[in-house]
Amino acid sequence: MIADIITIVRDNWLLLLVGQYPNGPLGGIAATLILSVLSIALAFPVSVLLALARLSKAPLLYWPATAVVFIARGVPLLMLILWTYFMVPIITGYNVPGFATMLVTLVIYEGAFLSEIVRGGILALGRGQMEAAKALGHGGASAMLYIILPQALFNVLPSILSQFVSAIKETTLGYVINVPELTFAANQINNQLLTKPFQVFFILALIYYVVCWSLTRAATLLERRIVTKRSGLSGAPLALTATAATVEP
């Protein structure tokens, strides 16, 4: 079993790392990472706009944004990918490559989820900050830009990082529209070997775990730093266990 795994990795490490590149499209871990980094980076501004639209009182902003958020969250990503894949070329008239399709879908999908995080961050600030900004004479845009968003986004950074982890896991579905990424590479290896799916998927699980765990860890550390930084003001929410330590003999 372990020997199998070592052999598989030795024979296929380049395919797992970069896919068929440069003799074909970039794939493997590289594609997975590029896809997830790009999708989060692009989804971020989208999510802020969606969140603001969903907080706005104008029905013309609120309803379309709400519809996008609910549809994107209510349909399996697989369905969304297939729709973008088939519909975007029909709508735009341009032939869009699979990578771009995957990226667009992930941006919409992640954007919808992130927007709820951002919205939550803004709502969690409470009315006081907005009122203080208004009372000083800041307009809506200025208050958002200099006062509300810097705080809200900073507070939700850990959730944003967690969403990043999901994005990495969701790129898995790229294989459906032949976007070569890590799972796709594993599948190619699997079909080459035919008799060792368990070993191949074990390697796959291990790679995902290492990549995602590092990020989750980063998120935890960040969360801790934020709590420490803010604790002077609010008295960091004590975990039940922490409180219990003082209560229990």
Partner: protein
């Protein structure tokens, strides 16, 4: 900065005329007619829920009114004022909240500098000089780099006052500025307010600090159930309140 043309010196700073305000069906302000003169210090008191906060929040339009009008420095606050003009007007009315509402992501200095730079377009240097002067004035020149979370409640409230003063407002509104403070810290905030008053700042303060009202106020407005029941000098009000409700209120405060 184009200053809106100030009314002549004798005219009142704030004028309420027939102001009516409801939350849904609940009336919060009923038929308010009152004036705050230039340089006058008005203390607003009254039982909880009587409409004190609502009253001063209508002055810079944090709350809308349903009828009547409010003039600030000769300018109509409600009505057609929108966007930029409203922001300009608001920047000329200092407002201090019970819960400080400092911006926690900015240092004390940056809290004070932000609005002059972003709203008035002041240069960083000028804003910095003003901010340092104001923080010194409220006794915090040694805390300029501290973040709100690192300051005590009293210190935070003093930064909040400096922040409001940075916009050089002709009048300041205070909504229970000391009631979120530990009893010991109340004094330091009241001291700053006293010194403002002594320099001729027009002030409207909602507060339960009757000592402050007695010493500093030119007039005390007593509110109940959305109306101003009494408007009198502190002397008259504390010695001889006219309304039953005011008498009971003063008795309650003394426990």
């Amino acid at each position: 900065m184009t200053q809106s043309q100030p009314a002549q010196a004798g005219a009142p700073m704030i004028t309420f005329s027939n102001v009516q305000k409801r939350y849904g069906a609940v009336p919060a302000l009923i038929d308010i007619n009152a004036e705050v003169a230039r340089g006058e210090v008005v203390v607003v008191c009254g039982p909880s829920g009587s409409g004190k906060s609502t009253l001063i929040r209508t002055v810079n339009r944090l709350e809308e009114i349903q009828a009547g009008s409010i003039q600030f420095d000769g300018q109509e606050v409600h009505g057609s004022l929108r966007g930029k003009q409203l922001n300009r007007l608001r920047s000329r009315i200092g407002f201090v909240f019970q819960s400080f509402n400092l911006f926690p992501h900015l240092s004390a200095l940056d809290n004070v500098m932000l609005s002059p730079i972003k709203i008035n377009g002041a240069s960083r240097e000028a804003a910095r000089a003003t901010a340092m002067r104001l923080l010194d004035r409220v006794g915090l020149s040694n805390k300029i780099q501290s973040f709100p979370a690192q300051l005590s409640g009293g210190q935070q409230q003093r930064v909040a006052i400096a922040r409001a003063l940075a916009m050089e407002p002709p009048a300041m509104l205070f909504d229970e500025p000391t009631s979120a403070l530990d009893p010991e810290m109340v004094g330091e905030v009241l001291a700053v307010m006293r010194s403002l008053a002594s320099e001729g700042m027009t002030m409207m303060c909602v507060t339960h600090e009757m000592g402050f009202a007695r010493d500093v106020a030119d007039r005390v407005w007593f509110m109940d159930a959305g109306r101003i029941l009494e408007a009198a000098t502190p002397d008259e009000f504390f010695r001889n309140p006219q309304h039953e409700r005011a008498k009971r209120f003063l008795a309650d405060l003394r426990h």
